[in-house]
Structures are given as C-alpha cells and as structure tokens.
Symmetry: C2
Subunit: 616 residues, 2 copies
Amino acid sequence: MKKQLFHLALPLIIGWIMISCSASGPLSVTIPAPRANENPRKDYTKILYETLERHPSQKLKMVFEPGTYHFYPDHATGKYHAITNHSNLYRYFAFPLTEYESVEIEGNGAEFIFHGVITPFLIERSRNIAIRNLQIDWEYPFYLQAEITGKNETTKEVDIRVDTTISRPVYRDGRLRIQGPGWQFDYLGQNITFDPTTRAVAFMAETARLPIDDLPAEKIDEVNYRIKWDRSATLPEPGHIVTFRGAMSENRLAPAFHISGSHEVTLQDITIYHCPGMGVIGEKSADITLERVRVMPRKGSGRIASSMADATHFCNCGGKLIVRDCLFMNMLDDGINVHGTYTSVKEIRNRSEIIASLNHFQQSDFHFADRGDSLRIVDAQTLLPRQTCTVKKVEKINEYLFRIITESPLTEEIAPGDGIENITWYPTEFIFSGNTIKNNRARGILLSVPSKCLIENNTISVMKNAILFEGDLSHWFESGAVRNVVIRNNHFGECSYGGGNFPLLSINPQISAFKPNEYYEKNILFTDNTIASSFSNLIQGHGVYGLTVQDNKFVKTNTYDDPFRGEPIIRLHHCGGVTINNNQFENHSPVIEIDSATFNDNFQTDIHDVIPRAEE
Amino acid sequence: MKKQLFHLALPLIIGWIMISCSASGPLSVTIPAPRANENPRKDYTKILYETLERHPSQKLKMVFEPGTYHFYPDHATGKYHAITNHSNLYRYFAFPLTEYESVEIEGNGAEFIFHGVITPFLIERSRNIAIRNLQIDWEYPFYLQAEITGKNETTKEVDIRVDTTISRPVYRDGRLRIQGPGWQFDYLGQNITFDPTTRAVAFMAETARLPIDDLPAEKIDEVNYRIKWDRSATLPEPGHIVTFRGAMSENRLAPAFHISGSHEVTLQDITIYHCPGMGVIGEKSADITLERVRVMPRKGSGRIASSMADATHFCNCGGKLIVRDCLFMNMLDDGINVHGTYTSVKEIRNRSEIIASLNHFQQSDFHFADRGDSLRIVDAQTLLPRQTCTVKKVEKINEYLFRIITESPLTEEIAPGDGIENITWYPTEFIFSGNTIKNNRARGILLSVPSKCLIENNTISVMKNAILFEGDLSHWFESGAVRNVVIRNNHFGECSYGGGNFPLLSINPQISAFKPNEYYEKNILFTDNTIASSFSNLIQGHGVYGLTVQDNKFVKTNTYDDPFRGEPIIRLHHCGGVTINNNQFENHSPVIEIDSATFNDNFQTDIHDVIPRAEE
C-alpha cells in the first residue's frame, strides 16, 4: 500500500492501537481517542505516522474512535509544496498520503482540531482513497472578526470591536496584526462585511470594501480600534460584522484537502468549519466524489466565516467529478470552481518547440503537462482554437517557464501571447447536484470545462454571480470553454446583492476581439429553475452559441433595493442559437437586450420586448 | 562533465560562440560580450545554459570576453533552495553548476550585473570548479542609503534624504519601502549609520540603531522623510549616512556564491560590489580556496555598503580552507565566520535513536549528517563533550526535525537540550592570511572549529570584535570549540568602536555552567601582532585552556574617546594555562583581571598589575 511517507519511518511504540484483519478486506487499525488520564490536547501527528509506517504493504482502514483529536505542525512531516490557487511554501502535513493505494479513513464523527499552519490532508499520487465522517476545525481562525461599532463620514474613520473569543490579534507599531501559533499576518488585508441578521455578506458590501492590504489602526483599548476607511465608496454599517484575512499574497496557506495527481478519491460526510485556504482543492486528479461535504461556520462558535477561500476548486481534473448533497456557506470566496489552466506562449523556438509560461503567481509550479497530453493553442484575442497538438516532451525551467516539444509541427499563425490549454485533463463528466451555496463572499459556481456538465437541484444565494462562465487569458488564466452544460431544477435565491453588476447567470469569457459567427462557449441549457431575486439584471452573456433559457420561473422579490430597476432582464451580445421561451415572470416586465449579430444568428424568443443593444 | 542542469536542456542557437579544444586540456568556449549592434543589457542566462548544455561530457572552460554582461531572473532556471544562514526560498540561478566536474570560468575582468532576485553562482554537488577574474554587482542594491539631515532630541525624530542615485524606494501608506525589479521590502528594517569621513560604521553607531523592523516614515518630499527614532539610546548624527536593509527574516535572498556539497572550489580575483546575502557561503564542502576575493563598494558609486551580510561564511566545511590576500570592507555583517552547526537533542526514543532538531530559522533544511559521520554530543550547560558516536542512519522529518540512529548505544546521561555537532565536517586546516577586513558592521573573524587554524598577516579594523570565539547552543547554534589557533603578525587598527563592550579579542563561548578544570576552547596563541586601538578593553575570555598572549605590541591611540579608560586590558575567568608575557605597551598601563580559578591553573605573566575579578 504505502510507497513513500517522504523519508520518515518512525518505529512502533503504539502497542495499544487495535488491529484487525480479515482474509479479504483491508487491515483495520483503530486510532484511540485520548483516554481520561491523557492530555486531551495531545498531538496525534506522530501516532498517525506510526500507524501508516507500520503497515507498509496492506490495504489499510484507519478507524478513529468518536472524540476530539488535535494536530500540530511541530512534529509533522514537511516539504516545500506547491498547490494551485494557493501560496507555494514549506508545508507541514497531518495526513501525508503520498503514493498510497487503497486507504480508507473512517472518522466516526470525530473532530480534528488543527493548530497553526498545518495542512490536514494531502492526497498525492495516490489511488482509491476514501475519507468519511469527520469534522475539521482550527483552534484560532486565520481571519480577524470584529463588529463595526461606529463610523465617521467626515473623517472617514470606522471603529471596530474585535471579537477576542474568536481571534487574538496583536497591536504593534500602528498596525493590528492577525496571529495564531506560529503565524502572523502583518496586514489586515482582504476584508468584507457581513449582516448579523442574515449571517450573509452584507448588502452592497463591495462598496464598503477597502481595496488595500496595509490598513493602519489606532488603538482605543484592548478590543476597540479605529481604522482610516478612506478608500472605499461607502463606509460599513455599525452593527455589521467585518472580517479581515490578511494580504492575498499570504493568506492561502493550507486547504483542508489537497488532492493532486491522484485517482478515485471519495470524501463523504465531512464538515470543514475552517481552513486557511480552500476546503477541497483538486488538481490533475481523476474521479473525485464529494458527498455531504459541508463547509460552514461551526454552530455556536460565533464565527461568521468558514474557509478562507473557495469551498471547493478543481483545476485540470479528469474522469467523473461528482459533488452531491453538499453545503457550502460563509466562505470568504467562491462555492465551486471547475476549470483548466491557460498557460501562454512566451517564445517560439522553432516549429515544434515553444517556451510557455504560467502567469498567475498562485499557479506557479503547477504541473501543466506530460508527454502524450493533447494541448489546444488558442488565439490571444478571441480565445478561439488555432491548433491542437500532442506533447512529445516537457521540460521545466523554473516555477513559471517550461519548454514544450510537440510531436507535429506548429502552425505559422501561433504567436507569443496565445493561450495553451491541456485538453487531456478535463473531466469527462461533472455533476453538481443537490447542493446549497449561500452567504459567502463572491460567486457560487464557476465553470470553464468542455465536459458534460449537469447542475441540478441546487439552492444558491450568493452576493455576486450564482453561475459564472469566464475563461480568461488576462487575470486568473483559467481555461476553458464549455460545450455541454445543463442547469436545471435549481432554486436561486437572492444573488448579486454585494454591489456592482454581477448578474445571476453570467457568460463572460474575457475576449478582446470577436470573430463573426464563431463562439467561445457552446450549449448552455438553463431550464426549470426558479429565480427569486430582487434584481433585474439576471442573465448576461457574450460569445456563446446555443444558449437556451426556457421553462424557468423568475420571481422578482423586494428583499433589496434594485439599482437595476427597469433594465433588461437578459442582455446578450455576439451570441448565436439563442432560445428564450416559455419562462414565467412574476413582478418582472421582461425585456431582452441583444445586438444585431445575436438577433441574426438563429435567435428565438416568445418575449415581446426585445431591444437593440444600446452601444450599437 | 555535466550531470544535471535541473531539467533544462535548451538547444543550440549559438553558432557564433567560439569553441576550441586541445587533445589533453578542457574544451574552451568563449562567451562573446554584446556586440555594437546588440542590446548592451541583453540577458545572458540563456546563453550560459546553452553553453553548459552543449557540452555535457567534457571538461569545460568558459571564457568571457572583457565587457559587461547582464543577468535577469526571468528566464533563469529555478528551484526551491535552502542555504544555511540565508532565507530558504524559490531561487533563480545565473550559473547553476549542479553536479558538474571540472569547470573553469575565466572572466577576463568582465563585469556581471545582476537584476532583481537572482543568485549568481550555485556550485552544488560538484568537483574541481575554478572561477576567476570577474566582478559582480547589482543594478539596484537591496539596501536603502540616505543621509541624516536633521534630528530632534525632543520629539525623537530624525530626517533623512534618500540617495536616489543609489536606491529607488517607494512611499506608500506611511511606510518607505525599499524596492527593485521583482522585489520589495515593506519594512526599512535593520539599520546602521556610517561616518562619511571614514566611510566606516560610525563611532557608537550601535547606540543609535533602531532595533525594530517596522519603521513608519513621514514624507516631506520625494527624497526627504522624517522617521520616529524613539527606540535607541541616542539619535544618529546629521551628516552621517544610514543604511536600511529590510527585516532580518527576508533580507538574505541570494549570496554571490553558494558552495554546497562540493569539493575543490577555487575563487580567484573576484570582486563582489554587492549581493543580497553573503559574498561567499560554503556548506558541507571541502577544499575551498579564496584568493584575492574582494567584497567592497564600487569606487565612484557613492554606495557606502557592499554585501548585505557576511563577506564570507563557511559552515561544516572540510579539507583545507584557505582565504588569502582578500579584501572585505563595508559589509553589513561579519568578515568571515568558520563554524559547524549545533543541532539539539529533542527526544530520546531509545538508546540508539534520537529525534534531533535544527534550531535557528536560517539553519532550517540544513543537511546535517549522513551515514558514517561522527557526531559529538555536548552537555547543554557546559558545552563539554558527553559522547562521540557514529551515524547509522538519518531520516528527515521536516525542515527542522530529523531522526538519528547510531551505530552504538548512547550513554544514559544524554538529555533533551544537549547539543550535537558533526565532527566529520570540520576543516583539517584553516588558513586566513594577508587579508584586510575593515569598515563593516559587526565583527572581523568568527572562529568555531577544532581545526589547525592560522590567522596571520591580516589587517583588521571593525566596529565590534576583531576576532571572536563563540560556540553557542542558545542563539545562533554555531559549533564548536577551537583546539589549535595561531594568530600572528596581524595588524589590528581601531576596533570595538561601534558602542558596547566588544573586546578586540573575545573568547566568549556561551556556557551557562563551568566545570572545574575543564575547558571548552583550547590552545589559542596570540603573538607578534600590533594593536593600535583607542580602547582599553582589548582581550576578554573564559572557558579556554592554553591562551598565550606574547610578543605583541599594544599602542593606545586617541582616535575615539575610550569609555573603558582605566579598565583592565585583559580580563579572564575560568581559564587555565594562560601565559601573558613579553608584550609591549605604549600609552597603556596594563592591568590584568582574573578569577582565582585562572590564577591557580598554570597562570604566568610578566605584568605586575594583576587584580582579582571584581565579582568574586
């Protein structure tokens, strides 16, 4: 079973761990909860390693007794470690499942409490891993939570009262610093306000967000501080709750689960109350299933936020990706993001050799491609395909640059700046079903894969887009175009309430030039959904062929004041094959705004008010 | 010759590089300087890699034409990289000599200009490497240089004028930030003042040093700033020059030369004007020779400082270590430090197995020991040996912890906290001859190796100790005790002038308990030196047996006001076998202060004034 636990091989001093084994099944090892005469906060990392080491050649089932287990980085195995969409750093791991086959971890509802900068689960170059029935939390979260106690519109100052039952900041040299054991954020950094009544991100919270990291604070007393709040359009409301989570460059330290280069990974009945990164991040892995995974603040903890970043995120994953009956709430970033990676052409050495580059700092050291993979090269402006080729060889130069040798010659039209996506590494199928996403900062679902995608029976209520399609070669460098998406039987509650124009359904590939009758995205069916939103700007899109919006029910609520009142409910340009039929509208007077290109390319609707796009 | 240039293998597009080869000698490849029709600042990293790649199995001589060559990190090969006494980080390398044998680089006086965070020379797991006749500099230094233009003793504020011909800081959010291409120090950090007349660290500069990193600044105009200077005993003098070099945790990014796991390395006629780390750092390498290596500010540049840290530093190096006819001046840290590493016993698993720990953050990931190495375990309090043992196996747990299995049983007296030094990895001989160390911050020579050491014909003038012996298991964790040191025919100019009690010759092992008649250091002969110093506190020591001070000439100068006037010239306690004879004293009335233990253990002197140690 075990191939490599880095270079660690601790010996056996765990006589009291119970071991049982049947002829056919895996070896079952019970990890005992702390006994009455033991330190209830003792470090379990060593006990885990000893268990893994003791059984190097068997299929293993680790069974935790119900109870609370603590994990610290001090004795944990470590290595320099890159995780896409996180910081790369020297990491420590509680469960370092590197090159394992057939490991089952049964938590029996156990609670795992982590201390400081430690990554709970690393599943790396492994196969057939199942983890079930456990809860993950941190002693101290990596964000600072405070109540807005006052604001001064004249001096542009905001007073906050830190909730010291949740976080223990220090004040030094004019700065409030977020800290915990072994770590400190010198800057308050990324911030967002929540409404204590809804426990969701506050209405128009984006307008009160400070866009810089280094926020000086004046100390009033041990818990009360005054912050200069002069770089946002509005000030946050007294009574609201603000979270600060440090600078973006340093606040993604550890996901709860990092799945990399692995196959057949199942997570079931797992609750992630907090983690200093994403809940689950999968990269270059196939056949991942999440069932009843919950990312949510712990009830009764008073904490307003759950994970520091996205609940779930899958980058260049293959096979079947299934996310079912999950609950993602109060994250400080998106619900789920399924995409590939656009690298870019940096230099063309000859017709079968290019120097390519990763571009976003949180993609650095991403393992982009291997021999035999199929790559698609896309035009820098239109994102439309130029050529597909097969990799003969890849050589890494540094964390950003690598050399690609292709099997066959590259076309002359390829130019520096063009994008490259790895089309071998996309899911065959993505099913997102029966899930709830709510109250978090940012978006619900981001989808940029050509796979067969089914999004059904979900409930979504988020401050920005509920669903966003957004391949881009300019900011996040997330590929690619969709080809077959069904969005049906979902309930969309209030979305887009954080301020700004973030339509509930947004098809927004970052294209700087369109080609007539050529489209980036294809085949999006939005059907049998109910949309109960206060806002009028519900669907916007461009660059898609085959968008069908039918049999939905749009109910205009009045929870929030609608700054888009009277504006078109659907806005499209440079689309083709659009059908908008048989939708029900309550309290809406539906208007569709389209450009002539969309109108002239197989457009059908039963809505009367179709107006031309203003800027034409 | 070449085994591995990471995973990079760039092809050949360098037709105009001249290649010549004789039957017996190495293949000689000439690297041409930029031609008149070329960008004079073009990046040479790729040309270097192509040259190295082209000749994978030959002894290679790379010959640079006289001229100026530029190197940038953008296309440089990279990897996560640990360097002792530096930060561990993802580094980029201009000359990545990993697993090479027999490479000669002839610079012909060429000037290599580096841009941003890039390490010039990595010599790693290589053998027989010689580098000659070149100059190393950076476009922008990693420190900020400014003139003190005013001070206010009442408000404790100091005004500075930034020298923008040298550094290009940015001011943002109340902080002056040091920056260059691809890097930024958010904190002004470590600081020291220089006297523009002497171009050396200023008299009593330590008392005006701010001991914190985060130093808010008030902007007066683009070049003038006001800094709150309320955490030092004194304020710096107007007219003096101050350097800030960022926080200690982040300001050791790249040495000019990193020599690791290598044998037979020679550096000759090399000038290092600047580097963001140490000039030369050697670790776990044998037979290193430096001749006419100069670490100094470039003449005419206006820059007051050279390297950001020590000029040279050798940790657990073996074989013959020779440093001859070098010039080390104006570094922001020591001249040379030759030592081993004390790790410490963390946990005793059984009589042949211990968990050991590296302790200082800048030692993390240091490769401490291999199978077959001899380790000496020392008592935590006395630093005296407990046992010597042979390594059977070493297993790394993380960047700090590792497990050691020993060949034979460990004694019962070994306890957690005890030190462990690797006595296989010390030089057989260390020769430091004909060198000059001057004007830098901190010390001249630090010596903590049991090797045969010869320090002769040097000229030293530094703000703290000229020579310091200081094994410690508490702060820097630098082993070990000396056994055979000859210091002769050196000229010591003004030392110790930076403030505080830092005697010219200091034998200062960090021992918290002494054992009667047992001594940490042994056999230090200080003879035929001239000492021309303003200060009275010239030699201090404890824990040494066999200290001989004879045939020296001590001349008291009056360059600086002596706060130690009237105090003993030599102070010793817990020493044995001390001989102080036949020294000449000019303008000194020599007094020796010793404790009774020293007096009673073979003490000899021809000096009349011997007084008992005050605290006895």
